[in-house]
Structure formats: C-alpha cells, structure tokens
C-alpha cells in the first residue's frame, strides 16, 4: 500500500508563508478551487485556506525559541472525518491514501470538521462545501507533468526545503528515512488517528570540545608554562 504524506522539518522552517501562498495560488485556480475569500482587502480579511503557518514561542525570556508550525491536513491513516460523513463525500483514496472531499456530494453539514481533532477542514463560506488539503492531488497524480513537478505546490515553494514529500509506507523513501533517523513524530497521537504527515523536531546543534583538543599539551608556542618534557612521551613523539 502507498500512503503519500508530508514530512515537515520544524528545525528548518523559517515561517515565511511561501507554502501558504503557493498552496492558495495553485489550488484556488485549479481542480480544487476556487478557495474563496471574504473582505480580502478590507478590515478583518478571512477566507478558505488549505495550509496555514502558525507561530509559537517556547520557553521563557531570555531562553525562548520561536517555532513556526505549518498546519495542513495530516491525511490520517485512520481518518475520523471519513466514516462520519453521511453522504460519502469525504473519502480516502485507495491508491495513495490521500483524504479528499467530493464537492458535488458534500451537503455542507460540517460534521466532518467536528470529527477532526486537528481542525484541518474549513467550510467555504461561499460555495458552502467542506474544503481541505488535497496534497495537490492534481499534481501528484498527473502523469503528464514531469516527474520532478509531481509534488504538492507547498513542497515546491518551500525555500528552505523544510517540507519533504513521499510515501511513508516505503521504508526506503526519503520521508521514511527522515522520520526514522531524525525523530519524526505525529500530532496528537493519543487519538489513534495515525496521521500520515509527520513533523521533525527542533534540533540543537552543539559541538563538544574538550580543553586539550583546543590546546595541545606540548605546543611549542605555548609561553605560559614550561614544556612538559618531564611528563614523558606524547603521541606526537612516537614515530611510525
């Protein structure tokens, strides 16, 4: 089985919202569009988006860290939003595991949005149907596009490559290796929804340097102390 998903590296994301605008641009003008807006150039603009970037501050000043957190449908392997749909408009694709909404069947009852613990679904206030991230199904399943472009718009737009895309069921894929080797985790694992999307945690890069690595004990340029000849041979005195 194939389960396409995103892996988002929180260590790399700089919160530039390029994925948000690229997603909106592609999807409002494509198969899943339009993603309508209300008061887009006025006070309190609001509208439908598939992808948002939120920002959190972790810790207490001065020891704080800013975490930018891109948030879109996680394409759960046990999607709680799908079985509750009374019409079958909400479904999970068999071939690649993407969770989609059939806009022609959706009655706009909003029950699926209640059944998503992550709040990843948004009702389009004008079209009155439920909308959500399609993982750019019209790109990734489009054989006429060159292989390199068969990726979601957000992934192609990310300037820091914080977003990886691939099959999380293939153990040798880039995403599976990233999850395995860099501590990839799922959101709200307590609900058993098995989100396919994973996040890579923030990682501190620290170098460990010991004193004697900086300063060779028998450095002839050392002036502060007499040469430690009395201490016997060092490794450098041994000739091979």
């Amino acid at each position: 089985m194939t389960q396409m998903a995103l892996v988002i590296d929180l260590n790399v994301c700089v919160g530039c919202h390029a994925c948000v605008t690229s997603c909106k641009e592609w999807n409002t003008s494509g198969w899943a569009g339009p993603l309508t807006d209300h008061r887009p150039y006025d006070k309190d603009p609001t509208g439908t988006f598939f992808n948002r970037v939120q920002t959190f501050e972790v810790g207490e000043f001065p020891r704080t860290e800013t975490v930018h957190f891109p948030k879109s449908c996680l394409h759960c392997e046990e999607p709680p939003c799908v079985p509750v749909c009374p019409t079958g408009a909400s479904y999970k694709r068999e071939d690649n595991g993407v969770v989609l909404v059939d806009y022609d069947k959706c009655i706009g009852c909003k029950y699926c949005s209640w059944a998503c613990p992550y709040g990843m679904r948004e009702l389009d206030e004008y079209q009155k149907v439920m909308k959500k991230c399609t993982l750019c199904i019209d790109r990734i399943a489009n054989d006429t596009l060159p292989e390199a472009e068969r990726k979601p718009a957000c992934v192609l737009a990310c300037p820091t490559s914080a977003r990886l895309f691939g099959d999380v069921h293939d153990p040798d894929s880039e995403v599976s290796m990233a999850i395995r080797e860099q501590g990839g985790y799922q959101l709200m694992p307590e609900w058993g929804t098995k989100p396919a999307n994973h996040y890579l945690p923030r990682r501190k890069t620290r170098i460990q340097i010991f004193e004697d690595e900086l300063e060779r004990a028998d450095n002839p340029l050392r002036k502060e102390a007499p040469l430690p000849a009395a201490e016997g041979e060092t490794l450098d005195d041994v000739s091979f």
């Binding site: 959706c106 029950y111 959101l187």
Partner: protein, 326 residues
C-alpha cells in the same frame, strides 16, 4: 463549540415530538390494561399524533438550515453503515411515516381488533403501529445523541450520559406536552402525563447533573504539547496564520462572555427543572388548562438554553491551535 440555532431547534423539537408520541402510546397501552379510561380516537390520539408529527416536521425543517446545500440532503442517507448522522436521517422520516399511519388509523377509526392474545389483550392496527413507532422513537433518541457521543475527542460529549440526557429530556418535554395537550382539550389525563413528566424531569436532572459534574472535573487528553509535539511546560501562541479569523475560530468557539454562559446555565436549570414542576403542581389544585401549557412552554425554552449550553461547554481539541494572537 459554536451553538447553531438550527441544531438546537432540531434536537429539541424532535425530542418533544418523539416524547409526545411515546406518551400517547403509553396512554393507549395503559388503557388497554384498563389502568386508564380509553380515550377518543379522533380527538385525542389522532390529534395528538398530528401534533407530534408537527413537531417532528418543524425539527426536520430546522435541520435544513444547518446545511450548506439543503437540495442535496437526500444524499445523506447513503452512509448509514458508518455515520450516526446518516442513521438519524433514515430513522426520522421512518418515525414520521409510522406516526402518520398511527394518526390515520385512529382518525379513520380502523381500530377493529385484529387478533386477541391469550383472550385478554385485543390487538388492533394502531397498537402495532404504536409499538413500532415507539421503537423507532427510542432509536431516534439514540441516533441523535450518538451523533454527539460518538466523537471521541469532544470529551464532554463522549459519554453514555449524553444518550441518557437526550432521551430523558425528550421524554420529559414530550410528556409535559401530553399533559398540556390533555389539559387544553379537556381530557382527564393531565395527572397521569404530568406525573410521568415530573418523574422524567427529575431523572433528567439527575443524569444532567452527573454529566455537568463529569465535565467540570474532565481532564482533557490533548494539550498544546501534544498538539504541536513540543515538550515544554511553557508554550505561547504568537500567531494563528491569519488576523481576521477563519472557519476554525467561528465554528468551534461559542463567543459568549463568561457571564453570558453563566446566565444561560442558570436559566436552563430554573426553566427545565424547577418552574415546570411548580406549575404542574399548581395545576393539580387550580385545575387550569393554561398552567400545563405554560409549564411546557417554559420547559421547552429551558431545553433550548440547555442545548445551547451543551454546545458551549464542549471544548474541541482543535481550539488548542487557536488560543492567542500577539
């Protein structure tokens, strides 16, 4: 959660309709066992069933206002294998059909005995339809409540108490309406239905009290730590990704002030559990046809407030992502 008036009207109105029908069937079964005087088919049972049907119709009508595409509502019967909403959509018209047939059988006097069980119980078409309708009415309480109780991460709702509350509130208001209907039409069943209404109101008070207590001490499974997967005791949201709100901030927050919520809470406690019982009690002595009607109306208003509070007290875990803006 944001309390939608369409859903408040739907759940309270059909609850009354089901309860009234169950009250009529209860009355019929009692009179069959010679515990009550048999009532007039046309004026009591047929009219009562029509009244119950009117409430169910009004509820159904209200539900359409909840939909973005009401013209596609017929599609919602498709996924009855998995969705409680779909099951409700099937059981509600089924119950309405049974009640309509029940009303028709009484209205046209088709109540000749079909067969007799053990030489005592005379079974006619209305009794069969009444029993089938009663089963459907209970099934509908179950379906309606399961729509809410089946969502495991809305923990305030995910409890058997939700099922018990919906059923008992429906029964209480339905029997209250039966008492009001009896009083209004001059039928001598006000005491019978009124007593049951008070019993159900009291039982609903106990079970709602238990769920309120449960929700007050509820420790939510999800936290901001599990929501974004960062282990730190102090995480503060600085941006939600927008300034002007979104579906997430409109649908999942009730938006009322704390004082407003407390006001609704106090009103529903008084209007559902206290005032109707006092009014019914007074009607025993005063024998006024207005008091049971007033009791029903006040309890119904109280139930609307109760349903509003039911939504407002539910905290969806998605709200963790929409806590603050810098």
């Amino acid at each position: 959660m944001h309390p939608a008036f369409s859903v408040i009207f739907l759940t309270t109105l059909i609850g009354v309709g089901q309860g009234l029908f169950l009250a009529l069937v209860t009355g019929q079964v009692y009179s069959l066992a010679n515990l009550l005087q048999p009532q007039d088919s046309v004026h009591f049972y047929a009219m009562g069933a029509a009244l119950s049907l009117a409430f169910l119709l009004a509820g159904l009508l209200a539900s359409f206002f909840h939909l973005g595409h009401p013209e596609r509502a017929w599609r919602s019967a498709a996924k009855w294998r998995t969705s409680w909403l779909s099951r409700e959509v099937i059981v509600l018209p089924l119950l309405m059909l049974l009640i309509a047939l029940y009303a028709a059988v009484h209205y046209f006097g088709l109540t000749q005995s079909l067969f007799v069980i053990q030489g005592v119980i005379s079974v006619d078409a209305s009794l069969i339809l009444g029993i089938l309708g009663a089963i459907a009415a209970f099934a509908l309480y179950f379906c309606t409540a399961m729509i809410y109780a089946s969502i495991k991460f809305i923990e305030e709702w995910h409890s058997p108490l939700t099922l018990i509350n919906f059923t008992l509130f429906g029964l209480a208001s339905g029997f209250m309406l039966a008492a009001a209907f009896s009083a209004w039409t001059g039928v001598d069943l006000v005491g019978f239905f009124g007593t049951w209404a008070v019993i159900f109101t009291f039982a609903a008070g106990v079970s709602r009290g238990m769920s309120l207590r449960r929700n007050r001490h509820l420790v939510h499974k999800s936290s901001l730590q599990t929501a974004i997967g960062i282990r730190h005791n102090r995480i503060e949201q600085k941006s939600q990704g927008f300034m002007g709100g979104s579906f997430n901030t409109r649908e999942f927050f009730h938006g009322a002030s704390e004082a407003g919520v407390r006001l609704v809470f106090g009103f529903f406690l008084l209007a559902v559990f206290v005032l109707p019982v006092l009014l019914l009690g007074a009607s025993y002595w005063l024998a006024s046809p207005y008091l049971p009607v007033a009791a029903f109306v006040i309890q119904y208003l109280g139930l609307m407030a109760e349903r509003w509070y039911f939504f407002a007290e539910a905290k969806h875990p998605q709200n963790l992502y929409y806590q603050s803006m810098a």
